[in-house]
């Protein structure tokens, strides 16, 4: 596939690995924020190719993983209602709430449908005027423009049977929460390329200056990640803390102005609770008052639900880069992708699932 396969070239990767060895003189701790990058790092064993002492810690960048249990429980309650067609991206179906998941609601007769795009959910609402279509609007800034467009179109068409259960999260406030925490070990960051494709990277310029960390906007293929690491370590070695853009083929400094504009007209910034992490101020999006009749919370007046996590799950610490999956006592034993206890084991971009899939049940196997 063009613009994919060439960035997986082993000989080029080898050149970057040698270059990293040349440029690195001491240990560094670098966080990749995005779960897509975590997945690629573990899949290709990039962390095992780095110079000794260079450690990658995995960040909170997986919207599936950080959606709070309370919200999953709300989704389950809505999906079980007879008048509702509940639409979700496929990766949310197996995320455990406090009692079951969307798949079990579907098995019990709930009308749960996997959609590829929010526009598919909108189309279902047009075709089924007698039913209520609820779309589970989960995601980072990358997904928000699509979800905003679905609402924008629904408003234009005056659809009264389409709502969103919104759980949008924003990446820079979470990055700041990590960098500002006392005892933060992270010395450099790889920022998530696809979030920056939409939002640009001016927010990160403030973070880099304020916390004196280099931040490199980075893509998702192995060569992208190796180049991002090289740029980040080169800055660290030189005592610099700037934002650099590795993913120039896709990301511009201002992001995508058209997408940002619609996002801003439909959504407003709100505080948001991150699963396992807690509330982070100004870290989420919700519908603006002008669009609140598309809010499933208001349409169905569902009660706020309080729910408890499985006490053994340390996914909160994993999402903050404070622990790695094999350090969890349940990893690979009580908790597997077949029977996940926490969301980081469910999503393919969750760190626990990536370690289980590519490193085995002990989480330590070397890549073959």
């Amino acid at each position: 596939m063009k613009y994919v396969d060439e960035y997986r070239d082993a000989a080029q990767a080898e050149r970057y690995v040698s270059a990293l060895r040349r440029v690195t003189t001491r240990p560094w701790v670098i966080m990749e924020i995005c779960g897509g990058q975590t997945h690629a790092i573990v899949r290709y064993g990039l962390d095992q190719m780095l110079p000794p002492g260079v450690e990658l810690v995995h960040g909170p960048g997986c919207p599936v993983c950080v959606t709070p249990v309370e919200l999953i429980d709300k989704a389950l309650a809505l999906a079980a209602r007879p008048e509702v067609i509940f639409c979700s991206f496929g990766d949310m179906l197996r995320v455990p709430g406090s009692q079951g998941d969307l798949l079990s609601v579907k098995a019990a007769g709930g009308d749960v449908r996997i959609v590829y795009s929010p526009m598919d959910a909108l189309e279902l609402a047009r075709r089924h005027p007698g039913r209520q279509v609820v779309f589970f609007a989960v995601g980072f800034e990358t997904t928000a423009p699509a979800n905003a467009m679905a609402v924008y179109q629904a408003a234009r068409e005056d659809l009264d049977n389409f709502t969103l259960l919104v759980s949008h999260v924003l990446v820079p406030p979470a990055a700041e929460a990590i960098l500002s925490a006392s005892g933060c070990q992270v010395q450099g960051m790889l920022a998530a390329g696809h979030v920056c494709m939409v939002m640009g990277y001016e927010d990160y310029e403030h973070l880099a200056a304020r916390y004196a960390v280099p931040i490199v906007v980075t893509g998702f293929e192995p060569l992208d990640i190796l180049q991002g690491l090289y740029m980040c370590i080169r800055q660290l070695e030189q005592g610099q803390a700037r934002v650099e853009n590795q993913y120039v083929r896709t990301v511009r400094r201002e992001g995508n102005p058209q997408a940002r504009q619609i996002m801003q007209s439909v959504f407003q910034v709100v505080p948001r609770t991150w699963r396992g992490v807690g509330e982070i101020r100004r870290s989420g999006l919700n519908l603006r008052p002008e669009y609140e009749h598309f809010d499933a919370n208001l349409r169905f007046s569902i009660q706020d639900i309080t729910a408890a996590e499985d006490p053994t799950c340390i996914s909160g610490l994993i999402l903050q880069g404070l622990r790695k999956p094999p350090q969890c006592p349940a990893f690979g034993t009580r908790c597997t992708p077949e029977h996940p206890l926490g969301a980081t084991m469910v999503s393919s971009e969750g760190a626990c699932a990536a370690y289980f899939r590519y490193r085995g049940a002990a989480g330590t196997e070397k890549r073959a």
């Binding site: 003189t25 997986c62 467009m149 179109q153 696809h194 511009r252």
Partner: protein, 85 residues
């Protein structure tokens, strides 16, 4: 779930509403209809980066080669600037 995938824009499907401007995009031969509202500059033959049915960026063909040129340019630098400090 934030992954976006590059595909080649084969043709543009006209629509009176610029918000519904769409195109047919080929992902290694698998063709899907994609909303182009956020990439008004996209033309057939461009590669667009697509996420949940929306093109969000046009791949810059020249910048796409920089990953391969980068190290050669580094090697041109005096090594002292690379490993100082």
């Amino acid at each position: 779930m934030c992954l976006a995938v590059p595909g080649e824009l084969m043709e543009i499907i006209a629509d009176d509403d610029p918000m519904m401007r769409r195109g047919r995009v080929s992902f290694a031969g698998v063709v899907k209809e994609v909303n182009l509202a956020y990439v008004p500059e996209a033309r057939p033959g461009d590669f667009v980066t697509v996420h949940v049915g929306f093109a969000l960026s046009v791949v810059d063909k020249e910048d796409a080669a920089l990953v391969f040129q980068f190290l050669a340019e580094q090697d041109g630098e005096p090594p002292s600037t690379e490993a100082s400090g």
